[in-house]
């Protein structure tokens, strides 16, 4: 510790923070470390503060630490046994992502049994996460020497080389794997990123496309692929991949790391795994994991919420509702629980309860855009369009680029017969939103068939509809075309188009009310009358 000095300024004692240089950390009290006999050549290991951990974790770690302590106290513990005991503690710590805490345990195990590949392999992972990367590389290289050509080791070593800026070295490693295991999406992923780092974008796209071919659900491949296409000047492909990018990376088959998965059991572990299962769309798996977590911590509102969410996705509305209500009981300000409960209530035909639930959620978190948008939507659908307009407007203040709110706002203006305002709102949205298609279509409809003659503009409606033929073909556009043609007095053309629409709707077995509405419009055109109802009930949000 640096010298303690008292400073004065203006007669007052001034205090600076008590700080210590990193290298001079005072030794922990004996209770906080486990020391090996002096002759062993092993460093003391820190004992984590178990009192901060959940009971199940405490139990597991305590057992392992006690076994290690036993071995350390015995006269001549066999090196392999002692190494395993160090490793047993270290692997639990690593599973818990306590990287720094696990480090010395692994190092001691490695000192005792240097030919055991597990220890340098795990140390590679420790240093890969917290640095230094040189050590990560060194230990993965050692692991590779002990078991040459293990794919997982080569791939992780390649990843470390990439992080060090050694893209040529990384490329060589990934190439070794792809040569022997052409099905390895992880190796192709690495090879592609190494090529990209080296500036070879053509090679990068080739390798990354191979990765995606082998593991189409590896959404993380899309980002570097997008960057590679961007570098080649293909912005369209780049944007297409960016739209699909996510965080599921292709990983090598890795038994040693997979083995860590079962070492730790705590409500938090189940919560984390449950969330991962939800993200992967594995609803039954998620439900099972959250359920296990709840067995350990029944009052945990987040586990309860996750459980409810999984049940909801599995179609168990009753189970989901019960879970959300219980989560709210425990955590009255759990806004997500209110929001998702409202979804269930609305989905099971109880919009009034859904509205009440959402209003409560918004009392706690007025800025919850999704809740407010949903509230507005339900209000609009259930005969309260003026209130819906207020809520959509408020949503847009919070999130001006929220397309759902902008669309809902415009359509509720239609509901209250404010057609000019609806036209203006849709026209503004067409200019402002990156994907204006829904707004364009709705605007064309309004221009074609609004009851208000000041709003109708058949020519413009037809132009807009024809512009959408390529990007938004479908029955909705067909109806729009027919409306516009009828507005322009081209009833024969309108009739022909609408007949095709009705036929297609019948073939697609759309709901009877929808077909009926379309047929009514057909009758209008056959009678040389224009349509004055731009949107059917089924088309309103």
């Amino acid at each position: 510790m640096k010298a303690v000095v008292a400073l004065t300024a203006g007669g007052l004692l001034w205090a600076a923070a008590c700080v210590e240089p990193r290298d001079a950390t005072p030794p922990l009290p004996d209770a906080r470390v486990l020391r090996a006999p002096d002759t062993a050549g092993l460093e003391p290991v820190p004992v984590p503060d178990l009192s901060t951990m959940s009971e199940s974790v405490q139990r597991g770690l305590r057992e392992r630490i006690e076994k290690l302590r036993e071995s350390l106290s015995s006269a001549s513990p066999p090196e392999e046994t002692l190494a395993d005991r160090y490793g047993d503690v270290a692997t639990v710590l690593l599973a818990a992502r306590y990287f720094s805490e696990s480090e010395q345990y692994f190092l001691n195990a490695h000192t005792l049994t240097p030919m055991d590949r597990r220890w340098p392999y795990y140390l590679g992972h420790v240093y890969r996460n917290v640095g230094p990367l040189d050590e990560a590389a060194r230990f993965f290289e050692q692991a590779n020497q002990l078991q040459p050509n293990d794919s997982a080791t080569l791939i992780w070593l390649g990843e470390v080389y990439l992080a060090q800026g050694r893209h040529d070295g990384a490329a060589a490693l990934f190439e070794r794997v792809t040569a022997r295991e052409p099905a390895s999406a992880a190796a192709w992923f690495g090879a592609g990123r190494a090529a990209l780092a080296g500036g070879d974008r053509a090679q990068a796209t080739a390798a990354l496309e191979e990765s995606l071919l082998r593991e189409p659900t590896a959404t993380a491949v899309h980002y570097p692929l997008a960057m590679a296409y961007r570098g080649l000047g293909d912005l369209e492909r780049a944007e297409a991949h960016l739209a699909r990018q996510g965080d599921v990376a292709p990983r090598p088959v890795d038994p040693l790391m997979s083995a860590l998965g079962d070492l730790l059991e705590s409500p938090e572990v189940y919560s984390s795994r449950g969330r991962s299962a939800l993200a992967a769309g594995n609803w039954p798996g998620a439900a099972d994991l959250f359920d296990k977590g709840l067995a350990m911590a029944p009052a945990d509102p987040f586990l309860r919420y996750g459980f409810g969410f999984a049940l909801m996705r599995m179609g168990d509305a009753g189970g989901a509702e019960a879970a959300f209500r219980r989560a709210i009981q425990t955590s009255p300000r759990h806004v997500e629980a209110y929001y998702t409960l409202a979804e269930v209530l609305d989905g099971t035909g109880r919009p009034v309860e859904a509205v009440a639930t959402l209003r409560l959620a918004l009392e706690y978190t007025p800025g919850h855009v999704a809740a407010r948008t949903k509230l507005a939507g339900i209000l609009g659908r259930t005969g309260a369009p003026e209130e819906a307009l207020q809520e959509f407007a408020r949503t847009l203040e919070l999130a001006p680029a929220n397309a759902e709110a902008a669309f809902g706002y415009a359509m509720n203006l239609v509901r209250v017969d404010r057609f000019q305002a609806a036209r203006d709102a849709l026209a503004e949205a067409v200019q402002s939103f990156p994907d204006p298609t829904p707004f364009r279509l709705a605007l064309a409809r309004l221009l074609a068939a609004a009851p208000d003659a000041r709003v109708r503009d058949g020519r413009r409606a037809l132009e807009m509809a024809e512009d959408l033929l390529e990007s938004a073909p479908g029955l909705a556009l067909g109806e729009t075309l027919a409306m516009a043609l009828a507005e322009l007095g081209r009833f024969a053309d309108a009739t022909q188009v609408q007949r095709d629409v009705v036929a297609a709707a019948q073939q697609a077995r759309l709901d009877d009310t929808v077909v009926r509405r379309m047929t009514e419009n057909l009758s209008l055109y056959e009678g040389e009358q224009a349509c004055r109802r731009p949107f059917g009930a089924d088309e309103m949000p």
Binding site: E20, G131, Y223, A226, P400, A401, P434
Partner: protein, 584 residues
């Protein structure tokens, strides 16, 4: 679900407030004799920066506790040297009092932000005496509440810098009266956004001559609904932003009459809303109009490209500066933009959390970036750190912009177990070697870089006007550090303050081209934003290395006009006023 808190360290040796009568002291700064060869020396205490930050923690691990404080450097009295503003926070919890604080506050109550006037005196022979005086009371700045950061800009074009403070809660704008005092115009101006503001930036985005305001907001936070987070073992820790809903940033357009119009809904057209921590404004795509880069915590960053019609569209993803090289959103706390590779456009440096490594995005031109974090070795050097304030600055005046990143954990550091505040990390200095690499030179930089503290804000500026860039660092629950640069002044430098003609203020957003015969052209820019929750020196500093050739300086003003000055004197601070140069 609560787990047990860490041991109650009340009574432990921790700092008191400004003016407090404390206590045993451990000043870790070595004596002058030890530091004479250090590149940087901490002189905060010696020059009178008597301040300690108070984050109001009570053992509840409330989320806001680890986010502040920022810091500011700005010449509020127009005497040619940089004054300092130190952000203060407060007790957290409606049912908590100062008696509940883990680290006892013994200063005047309540804790408030402090303004320190720089009373720099130049002696004969070029020596300087640096001295700061706390002028908070006289200034009229009564900054209570849970302070986060600071931003400066001359909002009324009267030539006096005004001060904007971000808060967990209502932000505040203090208008500089020009007589050493400030007036609170928060409500009158319409900029008192009630969100959780962290970083903010003044910029003239519409080129109307008036500084507008971008406020980066973090998350929607309600103390009564504070979320308890835990590690996989159940050990409690501070949450990350994913536990809360993000809060929309705000863009305020200056009407020119002392009021601002919230144009967020009309101007920011893309749907991205992220928990913003860092903001840096610059012309990223080279079209002459200022853009806005926002560092979002654990969410895609934003690059608001100015459409030149009062609106912005986010293009961060396609630009390659939204996420890591592997497509993952990262911590993204501090950020700064400058020409790191001396090719004429602005590049980005950004700080992140452990396991991510800080980022270097090199601008390829036209606003497309390439991630050079690994190739530059920045990633490897910073992998284990939690970075906050950072900026490009030429510490050794060799003409290449270097990086300083201040660090401080938000998860307990295992080696500090038993420490009442076990979140300390070293700060890092990385030297730009001019070949695309940033070399970690921290170990050579001086004893002050051995300190292990919980740093957040870092304001960059030439505090002693000796031609090299110094750094004022703020620490959570700690005293600030004033890193006075001892090496830069050994090389030549150019220092210019860029002042407008119609508006006699610092022309932030202006770009400077420095040309000399047989020397590479250097591009720099005037900015006060960047880093983390911080206000920086808006003057332009350019390292010139060994060459004493006087340069030609061309300034491209924010309105797009340019003019140049030949043979600008070096090794002294100059003012270049719009309209006094020649046509290029």
């Amino acid at each position: 679900m609560l787990t047990s808190c860490t041991a109650d360290p009340r009574g432990a040796d921790r700092p008191a407030g400004a003016g407090g009568e404390r206590l045993e002291v451990a000043a870790a700064t070595p004596s002058d004799a030890d530091t004479r060869h250090d590149w940087f020396v901490d002189r905060a205490a010696a020059v009178g920066l008597d301040f300690v930050h108070f984050n109001g923690m009570s053992g509840e691990l409330y989320f806001p506790e680890m986010i502040p404080p920022g810091v500011g450097l700005f010449d509020f009295d127009n005497d040619g040297d940089l004054d300092a503003y130190l952000v203060q926070s407060a007790m957290l919890g409606d049912d908590k009092t100062l008696d509940d604080a883990v680290f006892r506050w013994t200063g005047s109550s309540p804790p408030r932000g402090r303004l320190f006037r720089n009373d720099l005196q130049k002696g004969t022979g070029g020596s300087e005496t640096l001295r700061f005086t706390d002028v908070t009371e006289a200034s009229g700045i009564d900054a209570r509440g849970y302070g986060m950061g600071a931003a400066v800009g001359d909002i009324d074009n009267d030539g006096w810098l005004d001060l904007y403070l971000t808060y967990l809660g209502r932000n505040r704008l203090f208008q500089n009266r020009g007589d050493g005092t400030f007036r609170d115009v928060s409500t009158a101006s319409g900029t008192d956004d009630p969100g959780w503001g962290v970083s903010a930036s003044f910029l003239d985005y519409d080129r109307d001559g008036w500084l507008d305001l971008y406020v980066g907001n973090y998350v929607q936070y309600d103390l009564a609904a504070d979320v308890r987070c835990a590690r996989l073992t159940g050990e409690r820790l501070y949450c990350g932003p994913e536990a809360y809903l993000p809060q929309s940033d705000r863009l305020f357009r200056n009407r020119g009459d002392g009021t601002f119009d919230d144009v967020t809904t009309r101007a920011l057209l893309s749907p991205q809303v992220g928990p913003a921590l860092g903001v840096s404004t610059a012309d990223f795509d080279g079209d002459g109009w200022i853009d806005i880069y926002v560092a979002n915590d654990q969410t895609e960053n934003l690059l608001w490209r100015n459409q030149q019609d009062g609106t912005f569209v986010d293009s961060a993803m396609l630009s390659g500066a939204a996420v890591s090289v592997d497509g993952e959103p990262e911590g993204s706390m501090g950020v700064d933009a400058a020409d790191a590779d001396n090719d004429g456009d602005v590049d980005l440096v950004m700080t992140h959390v452990p396991g991510e490594g800080h980022n270097l995005y090199i601008n390829l031109g036209a606003g497309f970036f390439e991630d050079h974090s690994a190739a530059s070795r920045l990633h490897a050097a910073t992998l284990g750190y939690t970075g906050w304030g950072t900026a490009w600055f030429d510490y050794d005046n060799d003409g290449w912009l270097d990086v300083l990143a201040v660090n401080g954990a938000f998860r307990q550091v295992p080696s500090q177990a038993g420490d009442p505040f076990p979140y300390g990390e070293r700060n890092l200095l990385l030297r730009n070697t001019g070949d695309g690499r940033l070399r970690d030179v921290t170990d050579q930089a001086g004893a002050v870089f051995d300190l292990v503290e919980v740093s957040r804000g870092a304001a960059f500026g030439d505090i002693d006007n000796d031609g090299d860039v110094d750094v004022l660092v703020s620490n959570v629950n700690g005293a600030p550090r004033l890193l006075v640069n001892n090496v830069g002044q050994d090389s030549h430098w150019l220092g210019v303050r860029l002042v407008g003609a119609e508006a006699p203020r610092d022309m932030v957003g202006a770009r400077v081209e420095v040309t000399r015969p047989d020397q590479p052209t250097l591009w720099r820019r005037a900015r006060a934003d960047g880093s983390y929750a911080t206000a920086n020196d808006p003057r332009v500093h350019v390292g010139l290395g060994d060459s004493d050739v006087t340069p030609t300086v061309r300034v491209i003003w924010p309105n797009g006009r340019s003019e140049q000055w030949a043979e600008v004197e070096i090794d002294r601070w100059m003012t270049l006023t719009e309209g006094t140069g020649a046509a290029p």
